[in-house]
Symmetry: C2
Subunit: 350 residues, 2 copies
DNA sequence: CCACGGCCTGCAAACGTTTGCAGGAAACTA
DNA sequence: TAGTTTCCTGCAAACGTTTGCAGGCCGTGG
């Protein structure tokens, strides 16, 4: 029913190969012929059949985009940016969601592999070795994980975490908790590493709690651990957890920032609209989406291009952080903190 | 490089057509042969080339899903449900985003038309006639708009709005505002129609404000209009706007629900986590996503199937609504309300 | 006037499947 | 045993493009 290249050829009195070239290699055809062909094509409503084209060229002009959880507001800006970048280059994007599950992730990459020209793997939860193995089946660009031998784009969360800790330390907080993210998250490990070294450098105690689900509920769920640990400030894996945590603390009768300071990471749109407005580490998610598409499309067919992009982050100070306790307000026992720190060990063993 | 049907045929000593049938019509091949073929296929890592299959069958096994704004938390549950439903039937989904722009929407449908088997159009902003025209180019299922002659799935927001108004009226509110959604939204019109008739029936005043952007910012932006209008309760087009509005009211010194009650629509995850927890009309978004996929896939090739599905909604009462003013607290002038009501007229003309 | 390029166009072979048709073997019916 | 059905498999023609190759035409230089 839809017009084919043959219809256009017949109508414009040329061979199909000329019609083909009019679209895929315009400089090879006489301008006069070309415009005639274009007119006929327009008139017949002809659009090249992508399946046929894919069959012979081997390129589908589709890109897979796999995210951990499309409902996490961190991702939509990244997705939108990737989509528009791809569309400009006449590519389309398949977005899919793994429900934070490493197994689902693997299955999706495999399923997508044969019908896309490459996959953008965002915030993967699977192991490095599995990622490397999959990268031999389909071109991969990894976002939010550093990985040698593969093209990656990461946010400099280490710097962000350091700035956050220093900010809290500067406000007088010496007992700080880090609410970790999900198991398998490179970003979470990176934040932990950097926050711990920053805490050590500035002589603050850092209790790590986790791993946790990176959602509001996950943040809410650790509220009582936070309270029991006796910390006066918290750095959360992401804004969603920070918001959930503030909510949970509120229900336990602890106010933010008066009783406890909270810093998030990501700077999602919502963080400007909560009460209190969230102090957070802004990550350039849209830029990451664009960069990932560019990198995937850049190395045409020559694999083995392995650029590594790191995007800067920035501390945005709003209302969820305030001054720490006075010098003589010794809150509570090291015992509980030690218990909380026990979680660090169990986390390190993951 | 990747294994083709021919490699499998050679390795298993049968003709390619037998291999083909092993996958696309298993009942036509001897179980013994079949298992041998499957073993070879597995061994070679063979996966049918979808482009080649699409070329001959005319079906891509892809579905387009167009939403107004992927960053609106209303959509992710719908998207997830649609994706998993589609995946079960060996279909994949292209998700795209129109930025609430009717023109972008049209372009996307056209671009998608040739490379998917059908399009799910969620919360369209374009005109009915344009939708009908596009439905002749590609099978369409419309979500969140009633439209005769096309398969549609809608939520019964009319009932939801009525319940919300009655709830507010039951709490003693007589001056109520409706914060409308974006121009072109069927849902918004439906809510307005139903809310107005419910208000009339229960002898309450209803001021309609809008159209507005359906985001937190959009809700925040109408806070001062709400205050000036002197209403004591508000029904918002969606939860996002309700949350933004509560925030905006708070900044103006009006507390919810003590000074003003607010009801949202959608019951997004976030509405359980704000302060106060949001009273809202729950819409079955996941069910809508599943239903839409089913309807698209149901009418195999016979167009002209035009089932219309309506899903029930439900009022969820939480903490953002409270008792209205006492009988002798006559707040303010009808003049301002009239001004606000003036907006109704301008909106009706849209 | 001939030889030689440079443009442009046509020809035909791919690409990896699906599927109607036909044929052969085995299993059933009469 | 012959005829008929059932089950399975092979054959080959599509599907709508792209692209290397070859040839025709025209203009230029010798």
């Amino acid at each position: 029913m839809p017009a084919t290249i043959r219809d256009v050829a017949r109508e414009s009195g040329v061979h199909i190969s000329t019609v083909s070239r009019t679209f895929s290699a315009p400089h090879l055809v006489n301008p006069e012929t070309r415009s005639r062909v274009l007119a006929c094509a327009e008139h017949l409503g002809y659009r090249p059949n992508r399946a046929a084209r894919a069959l012979i060229t081997g390129r589908t002009h589709n890109i897979g985009l796999i995210v951990a959880d499309i409902a996490n507001p961190f991702f939509p800006p990244l997705i939108k940016a990737a989509e528009s970048q791809a569309r400009q280059r006449d590519y389309h994007i398949f977005v899919t969601d793994t429900n934070e599950d490493a197994n689902v992730e693997e299955g999706l990459v495999r399923a997508l592999a044969k019908q896309v020209d490459g996959v953008l793997l965002c915030s993967p939860r699977m192991s490095n070795s599995l990622i490397e193995q999959l990268s031999r089946e389909v071109p991969l660009v990894v976002v939010n994980r550093q990985l040698t031998g593969l093209p990656t784009v990461v946010m400099d969360v280490a710097q962000g975490a350091r700035l956050a800790i220093e900010h809290l330390r500067g406000l007088g907080h010496t007992r700080i908790a880090l609410v970790a993210g999900p198991r398998g998250s490179w970003t979470s490990r990176e934040i932990r590493r950097s926050a711990m070294s920053a805490a050590r450098a500035s002589e603050a105690d850092l209790a790590v709690i986790g791993p946790n689900q990176p959602t509001e509920t996950g943040g809410m769920a650790v509220a009582d651990q936070i309270v029991r640990s006796g910390v006066t400030a918290v750095l959360a894996y992401n804004d969603l957890m920070a918001i959930g945590l503030i909510e949970g603390l509120h229900e336990l009768g602890h106010r933010c920032p008066q009783d406890i300071s909270v810093v998030g990471i990501d700077d999602i749109a919502l963080s400007r609209l909560t009460r209190p407005k969230l102090t957070t580490v802004a990550t350039p998610t849209a830029a990451a989406g664009r960069a990932a598409v560019d990198m995937l499309l850049a190395h045409g067919d020559d694999r083995r291009t392995t650029a590594q992009v790191t995007l800067q982050t920035e501390l945005v100070i709003r209302d969820s952080t305030g001054p720490g306790p006075g010098p003589h307000s010794h809150a509570d026992p090291g015992g509980v903190v030690a218990a909380a720190l026990g979680d660090v060990a169990s986390y390190a063993k993951e």
